[in-house]
């Protein structure tokens, strides 16, 4: 019977199948970050050990300070404490952790793939919803909660029910100026944040094939914002070339890692990539996104009464009236970073826009990993940013999740390359507009929400 890529990887990892269809799946790779303290506490409470310390890797990212690399120098005792706990837990369990000062440190969803730890055909989990990112390499990757993290530590397996399968096809080629981030926002604007709820997305089509691995990581990263459990792209020559020479990479046979031609999906969604242009969110949900050259919608334009009320509440929180041009929306700051858009290509795209110019509002640049930072500095990107007036800092989750002390002030408006424009995500009362790296750079120059000139 023809099978999807998802089903092939699933089938290869079934340890035990119950009559009700629930499967115990083997986990090839498990990543964790500082938030893992709940799971380690659960293990301790039950007197359990980590079964396979060799298959787990820790990354200090959520609380990593953006402006320092020494744990001891962190002023906030609670933040310092949580990082120390993370490092101690990993050490006691005999797990390799990329701590703050490690030259290989980075955001788990940037550094994991970059180190070659994420490989095609794997089942990979992490206690973080953006684990869907790793599907870009052709892995089956999904986020889990703390209790499940404890289960994986103790058993190296996880219980899962087979999700519905969705193929999202981006037909045609992407126009110049549009990026993977714009594809993701265009998809979520179309199907909604619940559009893929509980499903597994396989991204396909010419525009997806045309993306670099970095672009595919961005696209799969945002699958969770459409409600999907995971997003994936079948591995190809681009994937294998990208993986070549990475420190932890091992040879993988990808010859069968694709959906068979007649494989059936529960849902098919198709988008015309040739009509995608740079996008931005205007509200407090990733589905509230429109092309940057357009207007903020008015509540009366909403498709139904429920959405009308939601849109009105979003506009109120965002300090917008509805009907204004996005290009007239004034910004207070810009953030370039996060597991969505902080890879070397993202930094190159943004640097190309600000090169030789001066930004109008403060811009924080946080590379996705310490390796990305070094690579960018080797190319001189750091100087392009600093000469434009931006601040060039260390890698971590930073202003995407605002756990490390970085935050956007109450009522301040920030154009951000991150993944969530939720209320209070970047700080209490903060107003977030999600955009691509090139659009973030152009917006920093203009002090308003604009796309980069092509």
């Amino acid at each position: 019977m023809p099978r999807t890529l998802f089903t092939k990887i699933w089938d290869a990892h079934v340890v035990h199948r119950r009559e009700d269809g629930l499967c115990l799946l083997y986990v090839d790779r498990h990543y964790f970050h500082e938030g893992s303290f709940h799971a380690f506490n659960m293990l301790r409470a039950r007197g359990l050990k980590v079964r396979r310390p060799d298959l787990s890797f820790g990354f200090g990212d959520h609380y990593a300070p953006t402006r320092a690399r020494s744990t001891g120098a962190i002023a906030d005792p609670e933040i310092r404490g949580i990082i120390e706990t993370f490092e101690r837990n990993a050490k006691e369990a005999g797990i390799r952790a990329f701590e703050l000062a490690d030259p290989l440190q980075g955001i788990v969803h940037v550094a994991g793939p970059e180190l070659g730890l994420t490989l095609p055909g794997m089942i990979l989990v992490c206690g973080d919803s953006h684990t869907s990112s790793h599907g870009a390499l052709g892995a089956l990757a999904f986020g889990i909660g703390a209790s499940e993290v404890a289960h994986v530590f103790a058993t190296q397996t996880i219980w899962q029910t087979m999700p519905r399968q969705i193929r999202v096809t981006f037909a045609g080629t992407l126009p110049a100026g549009a990026t993977a981030k714009d594809m993701a926002l265009a998809l979520i604007a179309r199907i909604g944040t619940g559009g893929a709820l509980g499903g597994a997305i396989e991204f396909a089509g010419e525009a997806v094939r045309g993306l670099s691995v970095e672009g595919r990581l961005t696209l799969c990263n945002m699958a969770i914002e459409a409600g999907a459990r995971t997003g994936m792209v079948a591995p190809d020559a681009v994937t294998m070339e990208w993986l070549r020479g990475r420190p932890f990479a091992k040879p993988v046979d990808i010859s069968d890692l694709h959906s068979d031609p007649d494989a059936r999906f529960n849902t098919e969604v198709s988008l015309d990539a040739t009509h995608i242009s740079p996008m931005a969110t205007w509200g407090t949900s990733p589905e509230e996104a429109v092309p940057l050259h357009g207007h903020v919608p008015k509540p009366e334009e909403a498709p139904d009464a429920a959405r009308r009320a939601t849109w009105a509440a979003s506009l109120d929180y965002m300090g917008l009236k509805g009907g204004e041009r996005l290009a007239d929306v004034r910004l207070d700051r810009v953030f370039l970073g996060s597991c969505t858009n902080s890879r070397i290509e993202d930094l190159r795209e943004a640097a190309a826009v600000v090169k030789g110019k001066r930004i109008a509002v403060p811009m924080l640049v946080s590379p996705g990993s310490s390796s990305v930072k070094r690579a960018a500095e080797a190319e001189g990107l750091d100087r392009i940013f600093t000469e434009a007036g931006a601040s060039w800092e260390e890698s971590g989750c930073s202003l995407c999740v605002s756990m490390n002390g970085d935050s956007v002030g109450e009522g301040e408006r920030c154009a951000s390359t991150s993944n969530r424009n939720f209320r209070g995500r970047q700080g209490r009362g903060a107003r977030t507009h999600l955009v691509s790296p090139a659009s973030a750079a152009a917006s920093a120059l203009a002090g308003r929400l604009v796309a980069a000139e092509v």
Binding site: D128, G143, E410
Partner: protein
């Protein structure tokens, strides 16, 4: 290991918000704290308190009798976004043992089941009607019976719902999932051996 969940009768609170993400249920800045009784303060913090720390009387969960609710009836897509299990801990610290909605964030749904917070899916029209009833009759009680998989509204109407069988079994008996998986250890070891030979 969660307490067994069999049957619950409690005041139900209606929450007229769609897409409530886990950042709103549990703001990130509190997540560095260990799980303790303070989680009741963190739950819906920025909706419940002003920036100056004053209680917002206009937020429904701050008003009696809803401040004593054990069941939350929410809008569509409850618990979307971040995988933070702390959102479940915060809801439990606030006294909730059941959340009713038309749909849930995928990871939140799993996290709830693992911790004994029952996520009940009912069709949107039934959720909307139930919220209307609760607004009109503040303090009205709702009964959730996990064995029968029924939710009985204040007027006595029973609605059926479905919880995945394994999770339901674990909840009813207060079973430890890790403990159960350990009974399958020979199969895990066999899988690993086959892999290594492979």
């Amino acid at each position: 290991m969660p307490e067994p969940f069999t049957r619950l009768t409690a005041i139900a609170a209606p929450l007229e918000m769609a897409n409530v993400d886990t950042d709103q249920i549990m703001p990130a800045r509190f997540m560095r704290r260990p799980r303790d009784e303070r989680y009741a303060q963190y739950g819906f913090h920025d909706l419940r308190f002003t920036p100056e720390g004053m209680v917002r009387e206009d937020f429904i969960l701050n008003r009696p009798p809803f401040d004593r609710a054990g069941i939350l009836v929410a809008g569509r897509n409850f618990g979307v976004g971040s995988s933070r299990e702390a959102a479940v801990y915060a809801l439990q610290a606030l006294g909730f043992r059941c959340v009713v909605a038309d749909s849930f964030g995928d990871i939140f749904f799993n996290n709830s089941l693992k911790n004994g917070l029952l996520p009940v899916r009912l069709p949107e029209a039934e959720c909307t009607a139930l919220r209307t009833t609760l607004h009109a009759n503040p303090g009205a009680q709702v009964t959730v019976d996990l064995a029968a998989q029924t939710l009985t509204t204040p007027d006595g109407t029973a609605h059926t719902f479905t919880i995945p069988p394994f999770a339901r079994d674990c909840l009813l008996r207060g079973l430890d999932e890790i403990g159960f998986t350990f009974t399958l250890l020979p199969e895990i070891e066999a899988f690993e051996s086959a892999r290594a030979a492979g």
